[in-house]
Protein backbone atom coordinates (compact mmCIF):
# COMPACT_ATOMS: atom_id res chain seq x y z
CA UNK A 1 0.00 0.00 0.00
CA UNK A 2 2.82 2.37 0.88
CA UNK A 3 4.54 1.54 -2.40
CA UNK A 4 1.37 2.31 -4.39
CA UNK A 5 0.89 5.62 -2.58
CA UNK A 6 4.47 6.63 -3.43
CA UNK A 7 3.90 5.82 -7.12
CA UNK A 8 0.66 7.84 -7.15
CA UNK A 9 2.42 10.78 -5.50
CA UNK A 10 5.21 10.66 -8.08
CA UNK A 11 2.72 10.56 -10.97
CA UNK A 12 0.77 13.46 -9.45
CA UNK A 13 3.92 15.53 -8.98
CA UNK A 14 5.09 15.04 -12.58
CA UNK A 15 1.61 15.89 -13.93
CA UNK A 16 1.34 18.97 -11.73
CA UNK A 17 4.71 20.25 -12.96
CA UNK A 18 3.63 19.72 -16.59
CA UNK A 19 0.27 21.45 -15.99
CA UNK A 20 1.74 24.53 -14.30
CA UNK A 21 4.66 24.79 -16.73
CA UNK A 22 2.50 24.62 -19.86
CA UNK A 23 -0.03 27.06 -18.36
CA UNK A 24 2.72 29.60 -17.65
CA UNK A 25 4.09 29.07 -21.17
CA UNK A 26 0.59 29.55 -22.61
CA UNK A 27 0.08 32.99 -21.06
CA UNK A 28 3.56 34.24 -22.01
CA UNK A 29 3.65 33.36 -25.75
CA UNK A 30 3.40 36.16 -28.30
CA UNK A 31 1.78 34.00 -30.96
CA UNK A 32 -1.80 33.06 -30.04
CA UNK A 33 -1.58 29.74 -31.88
CA UNK A 34 1.38 28.68 -29.71
CA UNK A 35 -0.64 29.61 -26.61
CA UNK A 36 -3.49 27.38 -27.78
CA UNK A 37 -1.03 24.53 -28.42
CA UNK A 38 0.42 24.83 -24.89
CA UNK A 39 -3.04 25.06 -23.35
CA UNK A 40 -4.16 21.82 -25.01
CA UNK A 41 -1.23 20.04 -23.32
CA UNK A 42 -2.13 21.75 -20.03
CA UNK A 43 -5.72 20.49 -20.24
CA UNK A 44 -4.45 16.98 -21.03
CA UNK A 45 -2.26 17.15 -17.89
CA UNK A 46 -5.23 18.26 -15.76
CA UNK A 47 -7.20 15.34 -17.22
CA UNK A 48 -4.47 13.00 -15.92
CA UNK A 49 -4.86 14.61 -12.47
CA UNK A 50 -8.62 13.94 -12.63
CA UNK A 51 -7.93 10.30 -13.50
CA UNK A 52 -5.53 9.99 -10.57
CA UNK A 53 -8.19 11.51 -8.28
CA UNK A 54 -10.63 8.74 -9.24
CA UNK A 55 -12.77 10.68 -11.74
CA UNK A 56 -12.27 8.92 -15.10
CA UNK A 57 -15.58 10.27 -16.49
CA UNK A 58 -14.51 13.87 -15.87
CA UNK A 59 -11.04 13.11 -17.29
CA UNK A 60 -12.66 11.99 -20.56
CA UNK A 61 -14.92 15.06 -20.59
CA UNK A 62 -11.92 17.33 -20.00
CA UNK A 63 -10.22 15.92 -23.10
CA UNK A 64 -13.36 15.91 -25.27
CA UNK A 65 -14.81 19.29 -24.30
CA UNK A 66 -11.90 21.45 -23.16
CA UNK A 67 -8.96 20.16 -25.19
CA UNK A 68 -11.27 19.27 -28.09
CA UNK A 69 -14.29 21.49 -28.60
CA UNK A 70 -13.38 24.71 -26.78
CA UNK A 71 -9.82 24.87 -28.14
CA UNK A 72 -11.12 24.21 -31.68
CA UNK A 73 -13.53 27.11 -31.13
CA UNK A 74 -10.55 29.32 -30.29
CA UNK A 75 -8.75 28.03 -33.37
CA UNK A 76 -11.75 28.93 -35.56
CA UNK A 77 -11.85 32.41 -34.03
CA UNK A 78 -8.14 32.93 -34.76
CA UNK A 79 -8.73 31.78 -38.35
CA UNK A 80 -11.72 34.14 -38.75
CA UNK A 81 -9.71 37.06 -37.39
CA UNK A 82 -7.25 36.89 -40.30
CA UNK A 83 -4.09 37.41 -38.26
CA UNK A 84 -2.15 35.77 -41.09
CA UNK A 85 0.41 38.35 -42.21
CA UNK A 86 2.05 39.31 -38.93
CA UNK A 87 1.88 35.75 -37.55
CA UNK A 88 3.72 34.37 -40.56
CA UNK A 89 6.42 37.05 -40.21
CA UNK A 90 6.82 36.10 -36.57
CA UNK A 91 7.00 32.43 -37.47
CA UNK A 92 9.77 33.16 -39.96
CA UNK A 93 11.83 35.11 -37.44
CA UNK A 94 11.71 32.38 -34.79
CA UNK A 95 13.69 29.19 -34.78
CA UNK A 96 11.40 26.57 -36.33
CA UNK A 97 12.37 23.97 -33.72
CA UNK A 98 11.74 26.10 -30.64
CA UNK A 99 8.07 26.66 -31.35
CA UNK A 100 7.01 23.03 -31.06
CA UNK A 101 9.75 21.59 -28.81
CA UNK A 102 8.06 22.75 -25.57
CA UNK A 103 4.58 21.26 -26.16
CA UNK A 104 6.15 18.14 -27.67
CA UNK A 105 8.32 17.56 -24.58
CA UNK A 106 5.40 18.10 -22.19
CA UNK A 107 3.27 15.77 -24.31
CA UNK A 108 6.01 13.12 -24.18
CA UNK A 109 6.04 13.28 -20.36
CA UNK A 110 2.27 12.74 -20.37
CA UNK A 111 2.63 9.87 -22.85
CA UNK A 112 5.21 8.19 -20.58
CA UNK A 113 2.79 8.53 -17.65
CA UNK A 114 -0.02 7.11 -19.76
CA UNK A 115 2.05 4.06 -20.72
CA UNK A 116 3.11 3.60 -17.09
CA UNK A 117 -0.50 3.71 -15.85
CA UNK A 118 -1.53 1.30 -18.62
CA UNK A 119 1.14 -1.21 -17.61
CA UNK A 120 0.59 -0.82 -13.85
CA UNK A 121 -3.18 -0.59 -14.12
CA UNK A 122 -3.95 -2.79 -11.13
CA UNK A 123 -1.45 -0.96 -8.91
CA UNK A 124 -2.93 2.45 -9.64
CA UNK A 125 -6.55 1.36 -9.46
CA UNK A 126 -6.07 -0.60 -6.22
CA UNK A 127 -4.95 2.54 -4.42
CA UNK A 128 -7.75 4.60 -5.94
CA UNK A 129 -11.43 4.67 -4.96
CA UNK A 130 -13.14 5.52 -8.27
CA UNK A 131 -16.45 7.40 -8.56
CA UNK A 132 -18.15 5.82 -11.59
CA UNK A 133 -20.09 7.66 -14.32
CA UNK A 134 -23.25 5.87 -13.14
CA UNK A 135 -22.97 7.49 -9.71
CA UNK A 136 -22.37 10.89 -11.29
CA UNK A 137 -25.38 10.49 -13.61
CA UNK A 138 -27.64 9.43 -10.74
CA UNK A 139 -26.62 12.47 -8.68
CA UNK A 140 -26.94 14.77 -11.70
CA UNK A 141 -30.45 13.74 -12.76
CA UNK A 142 -31.96 13.02 -9.33
CA UNK A 143 -30.52 15.59 -6.94
CA UNK A 144 -29.52 18.35 -9.37
CA UNK A 145 -32.40 18.34 -11.90
CA UNK A 146 -33.00 22.07 -11.40
CA UNK A 147 -29.33 22.73 -12.17
CA UNK A 148 -29.57 20.76 -15.41
CA UNK A 149 -32.60 22.83 -16.48
CA UNK A 150 -30.76 26.06 -15.63
CA UNK A 151 -27.72 24.95 -17.63
CA UNK A 152 -29.99 24.20 -20.60
CA UNK A 153 -31.38 27.74 -20.43
CA UNK A 154 -27.87 29.19 -20.06
CA UNK A 155 -26.64 27.35 -23.16
CA UNK A 156 -29.71 28.46 -25.13
CA UNK A 157 -29.16 32.10 -24.15
CA UNK A 158 -25.47 31.80 -25.09
CA UNK A 159 -26.50 30.42 -28.50
CA UNK A 160 -28.95 33.27 -29.08
CA UNK A 161 -26.45 35.88 -27.87
CA UNK A 162 -23.67 34.55 -30.08
CA UNK A 163 -25.89 34.49 -33.18
CA UNK A 164 -27.03 38.07 -32.43
CA UNK A 165 -23.47 39.31 -31.87
CA UNK A 166 -22.09 37.43 -34.85
CA UNK A 167 -24.52 39.08 -37.26
CA UNK A 168 -23.07 41.65 -39.66
CA UNK A 169 -24.27 45.21 -38.94
CA UNK A 170 -27.08 46.24 -41.28
CA UNK A 171 -25.25 49.34 -42.55
CA UNK A 172 -22.39 47.15 -43.73
CA UNK A 173 -24.74 44.89 -45.72
CA UNK A 174 -26.44 47.91 -47.26
CA UNK A 175 -23.12 49.42 -48.30
CA UNK A 176 -22.04 46.13 -49.84
CA UNK A 177 -25.30 46.00 -51.82
CA UNK A 178 -24.84 49.56 -53.12
CA UNK A 179 -21.24 48.81 -54.12
CA UNK A 180 -22.35 45.70 -55.91
CA UNK A 181 -25.07 47.61 -57.80
CA UNK A 182 -22.69 50.37 -58.89
CA UNK A 183 -20.23 47.77 -60.17
CA UNK A 184 -22.91 46.03 -62.18
CA UNK A 185 -23.97 49.40 -63.65
Amino acid sequence: MKHEAAIMNLLFLATAIVAVGTSIAAITRHNVLHSILYLIVSFAAIAVVFYLLGAPFIAALEIITYAGAIMVLFLFAVMLLNLGGSAIEQERRWQPVLSWAGPAFAGLVLLAEFLFILMHDTTVNAANPVITPAQVGRALFLRYTVGVELVAMLLLSALLGASRLGRRPRTYILKQGIDHDSHSV
Binding site: M8, I27, Y66, L165
Partner: protein, 103 residues
Amino acid sequence: MTPIPFEQILLLGTVLFVVGLAGVLARRNLILILLSIEIMLNAAGLIFIAGGSKFHEPDGQVMFLFILAVAAAEVTIGLALILAQNHASRTLDADAADQLRDR
Protein backbone atom coordinates in the same frame (compact mmCIF):
# COMPACT_ATOMS: atom_id res chain seq x y z
CA MET B 1 -9.64 8.89 0.05
CA THR B 2 -6.92 8.91 -2.57
CA PRO B 3 -3.30 8.54 -1.52
CA ILE B 4 -2.50 11.98 -2.95
CA PRO B 5 -2.43 14.55 -0.12
CA PHE B 6 -5.40 16.93 -0.25
CA GLU B 7 -3.15 19.93 0.47
CA GLN B 8 -1.03 19.27 -2.64
CA ILE B 9 -4.12 19.24 -4.87
CA LEU B 10 -5.33 22.49 -3.30
CA LEU B 11 -1.87 23.94 -3.93
CA LEU B 12 -1.95 22.89 -7.61
CA GLY B 13 -5.44 24.41 -8.02
CA THR B 14 -4.37 27.65 -6.39
CA VAL B 15 -1.20 27.95 -8.48
CA LEU B 16 -3.16 27.33 -11.70
CA PHE B 17 -5.76 29.91 -10.64
CA VAL B 18 -3.05 32.50 -9.94
CA VAL B 19 -1.40 31.78 -13.31
CA GLY B 20 -4.74 32.40 -15.02
CA LEU B 21 -5.30 35.56 -12.99
CA ALA B 22 -1.84 36.85 -13.94
CA GLY B 23 -2.70 36.20 -17.59
CA VAL B 24 -5.96 38.16 -17.32
CA LEU B 25 -4.24 41.09 -15.64
CA ALA B 26 -1.02 41.20 -17.66
CA ARG B 27 -2.02 40.42 -21.25
CA ARG B 28 -3.80 42.86 -23.54
CA ASN B 29 -4.69 40.47 -26.36
CA LEU B 30 -8.40 39.66 -25.93
CA ILE B 31 -8.04 36.03 -27.04
CA LEU B 32 -5.29 35.44 -24.48
CA ILE B 33 -7.47 36.98 -21.77
CA LEU B 34 -10.22 34.47 -22.64
CA LEU B 35 -7.68 31.62 -22.57
CA SER B 36 -6.54 32.75 -19.10
CA ILE B 37 -10.15 32.73 -17.89
CA GLU B 38 -10.35 29.12 -19.13
CA ILE B 39 -7.31 28.27 -16.97
CA MET B 40 -8.98 29.85 -13.94
CA LEU B 41 -12.27 27.96 -14.48
CA ASN B 42 -10.31 24.73 -14.83
CA ALA B 43 -8.50 25.38 -11.55
CA ALA B 44 -11.85 25.90 -9.79
CA GLY B 45 -13.10 22.63 -11.29
CA LEU B 46 -9.97 20.87 -10.06
CA ILE B 47 -10.74 21.98 -6.49
CA PHE B 48 -14.32 20.64 -6.83
CA ILE B 49 -13.04 17.26 -8.08
CA ALA B 50 -10.53 17.13 -5.22
CA GLY B 51 -13.30 17.79 -2.69
CA GLY B 52 -15.54 15.15 -4.22
CA SER B 53 -12.66 12.67 -4.15
CA LYS B 54 -11.84 13.49 -0.51
CA PHE B 55 -15.37 12.77 0.74
CA HIS B 56 -16.05 10.15 -1.97
CA GLU B 57 -19.21 11.86 -3.22
CA PRO B 58 -20.23 12.43 -6.88
CA ASP B 59 -21.31 16.04 -6.12
CA GLY B 60 -17.89 17.43 -6.99
CA GLN B 61 -18.06 15.92 -10.49
CA VAL B 62 -21.60 17.27 -10.96
CA MET B 63 -20.31 20.75 -10.11
CA PHE B 64 -17.52 20.29 -12.66
CA LEU B 65 -20.16 19.53 -15.31
CA PHE B 66 -21.88 22.84 -14.46
CA ILE B 67 -18.54 24.69 -14.66
CA LEU B 68 -17.98 23.06 -18.06
CA ALA B 69 -21.33 24.38 -19.32
CA VAL B 70 -20.62 27.86 -17.97
CA ALA B 71 -17.18 27.83 -19.64
CA ALA B 72 -18.69 26.80 -22.99
CA ALA B 73 -21.32 29.58 -22.82
CA GLU B 74 -18.73 32.16 -21.74
CA VAL B 75 -16.33 31.23 -24.54
CA THR B 76 -19.08 31.39 -27.16
CA ILE B 77 -20.19 34.89 -26.12
CA GLY B 78 -16.61 36.07 -25.60
CA LEU B 79 -15.43 34.98 -29.03
CA ALA B 80 -18.51 36.49 -30.68
CA LEU B 81 -17.74 39.78 -28.91
CA ILE B 82 -14.09 39.60 -30.02
CA LEU B 83 -15.15 39.01 -33.63
CA ALA B 84 -17.59 41.94 -33.43
CA GLN B 85 -14.91 44.21 -32.00
CA ASN B 86 -12.36 43.11 -34.58
CA HIS B 87 -14.93 43.83 -37.27
CA ALA B 88 -15.59 47.30 -35.85
CA SER B 89 -12.07 48.51 -35.02
CA ARG B 90 -9.57 46.03 -36.61
CA THR B 91 -7.74 45.41 -33.33
CA LEU B 92 -7.56 42.81 -30.56
CA ASP B 93 -6.38 45.30 -27.92
CA ALA B 94 -8.44 45.10 -24.71
CA ASP B 95 -8.23 48.88 -24.27
CA ALA B 96 -10.03 49.47 -27.56
CA ALA B 97 -13.12 47.59 -26.35
CA ASP B 98 -15.01 50.69 -25.23
CA GLN B 99 -16.92 51.27 -28.48
CA LEU B 100 -18.99 48.12 -28.96
CA ARG B 101 -22.35 49.88 -29.32
CA ASP B 102 -24.11 49.65 -32.68
CA ARG B 103 -23.82 52.84 -34.64
